[in-house]
């Protein structure tokens, strides 16, 4: 099915282990994002990517590593998992923004909307 998928959906690991969460989208969206969702914090951006081989830090990048060798995949790796990384992780994707008719800023269509995967619940013991 077309869309955005995440795997695994549930993961339990131990402190200090390396964990990789996978994200795959079939829309050929240029932009992809990783968020974590915690009670009292809503969703916080971890990393994002504008295109293959282009990544940048978000609000809470420490302890995470990303790569984007192919447009459709955006894996998130916890190099040495900690209990504070217990969370629900969401991957999202979107088309690149477009120039408006005025050319003054990017945007103006549903291409700017982010579409989310189903989430991965990660527990670090």
């Amino acid at each position: 099915d077309a869309g955005i998928t995440q795997s695994p959906r549930y993961k339990i690991t131990e402190t200090g282990r390396q964990v990789t969460l996978m994200c795959h989208q079939t829309w050929s969206h240029s932009y992809m994002f990783w968020y974590r969702q915690d009670l009292g914090h809503g969703l916080r951006l971890i990393y994002y990517s504008a295109a293959a081989d282009i990544t940048d830090k978000g609000e809470v990048p420490d302890g995470y590593v990303v790569s984007r060798s192919k447009t459709e995949n955006f894996p998130l790796t916890l190099e040495s998992a900690t209990r504070s990384q217990t969370s629900v992780y969401f991957c999202a994707s979107s088309d690149p923004p477009e120039w408006t008719l005025s050319g003054r800023f990017w945007g103006g269509s549903t291409r700017d909307t982010q579409y989310f995967g189903p989430g991965t619940r990660l527990t670090v013991l």
């Binding site: 969703l43 990517s49 103006g108």
Partner: protein, 118 residues
Amino acid sequence: AQTVTQSQPEMSVQEAETVTLSCTYDTSENNYYLFWYKQPPSRQMILVIRQEAYKQQNATENRFSVNFQKAAKSFSLKISDSQLGDTAMYFCAFMKLRHSNTGNQFYFGTGTSLTVIP
């Protein structure tokens, strides 16, 4: 920095009634987008409605509409004729537009849990 505030952690509404969820945000940007996302128990994030800041007309999508007050930096969501399937967590989100190739960042509120009572 951009912040998004949802001051109502929990709300409830009788089926078929109307409910309004509030959202305020703080930004120095002039051009941006605002979104409401719905997260049902399945945990999937579903786009409900979006609003471009440069548009004065409030966005509507079937039973969902927004009251966008740019000067007040307020973006409330009105759900009319509430249905049991509307029970979910609702997140308000702000997206800053950029003149660059590094992507548009979203900033989310902490969410409002809405329960529709039969």
